[in-house]
């Protein structure tokens, strides 16, 4: 047969965890947890006071708890829904009563695909990080010390330039403003 159906009759109370494959029709009361690979139907008069993790849900009765629905959750006109609901699709009929926190679909404050801000001219160049050469003093020993130091700096500058170039290549692909801000911070640390 196709998906089996489990029915909890109107005068029954199940306290604990209901799990498995198939649909669950609740005309009675279920308290605890429901984890199904199927649809949860809460009949008028039925109460599910449980955390649910189901494929779909149809609520004509009362559903209270944390609901994680992988498909559609539909609240019929006589239905009541309370708790946290996470689902890709929510349908609420006129007359339904909700007291819930909903997480349905993605919400983007900015239009997708639009760069928040990236201009290469604002990126700090290697020159900004080069430490100034110490002034040449009269003592030759000091001059010698500073020469290798200067050579190191030049190497540093040289190695930084490719980094800069690499970053410039990567940045246009990054759309979020936060990622480029993170890159800036990384450069400052260097």
């Amino acid at each position: 047969m196709a998906d089996s159906q489990t029915v909890i009759a109107s005068r029954h109370v199940v306290r604990g965890r209901v799990s498995g494959d198939g649909d669950l029709v609740v005309a009675g009361r279920v308290e605890g947890e429901v984890a199904l690979n199927g649809t949860l139907h809460v009949e008028p008069g039925g109460v599910v006071a449980a955390d649910i993790d189901v494929a779909n849900a149809f609520v004509a009765g009362t559903l209270v708890g944390s609901a994680n629905v992988r498909g559609t959750i539909e609240v019929d006109s006589g239905g009541q829904l309370a708790g946290d609901v996470t689902a890709p699709q929510l349908l609420v009929h006129d007359g339904a009563r909700l007291h819930a926190r909903l997480d349905v679909g993605d919400v983007a404050a900015e239009p997708r695909g639009q760069k928040a801000y990236v201009t290469t001219s604002r990126r700090p160049t290697a020159a900004a990080f080069a430490t100034p050469r110490p002034a040449v003093t009269a003592s030759p020993a000091v001059v010698e010390e500073s020469a290798p130091a200067a050579a190191d700096e030049e190497e540093e500058a040289a190695t930084m330039a490719p980094d800069d170039g690499a970053n410039e290549a990567v940045v246009p692909e990054i759309v979020e403003a936060e990622a480029s801000a993170g890159d800036d911070e990384k450069k400052k640390e260097e």
Binding site: V13, V14, R15, R17, V18, S19, G20, G22, A27
Partner: protein, 104 residues
């Protein structure tokens, strides 16, 4: 018909109580306390103490069975546990491992 039917691929881990008939085709663990008949169908598995007026076992029951009226174990049935009931019927072919107390 107000029957609770627990489908073959469903597991209930907890307590079931109420006053409607219960038909178990899946798995029930915990406890069952009803004011109506409990039918454990072939393939059904009850790993719980059962308390009901009537209990009909055609599947497996692993636990204490206390019936107010009658316990019936069908040929495909298996009872592993103690039974307390004023009347008991065990069909030929049934499996029974436990004690029977009919002095309720």
């Amino acid at each position: 018909m107000a029957d609770t039917v627990i489908g073959p691929k469903i597991t209930i881990d907890g307590e079931i109580s109420g006053s409607d008939t219960l038909v178990v085709q899946g798995v029930v663990k915990g406890s069952v306390k009803l004011d109506a008949t409990v039918h454990v169908e072939p393939g059904g598995n009850v790993d719980a103490d059962v308390q009901a007026p009537n209990v009909v076992v055609a599947g497996t029951v692993h636990g204490q069975v206390t019936a107010g009226e009658k316990v019936e174990v069908k040929p495909e049935g298996k009872v592993l546990g103690n039974v307390k009931s004023p009347r008991i019927l065990i069909a030929d072919g049934a499996v029974f491992k436990g004690s029977i107390d009919m002095d309720v």
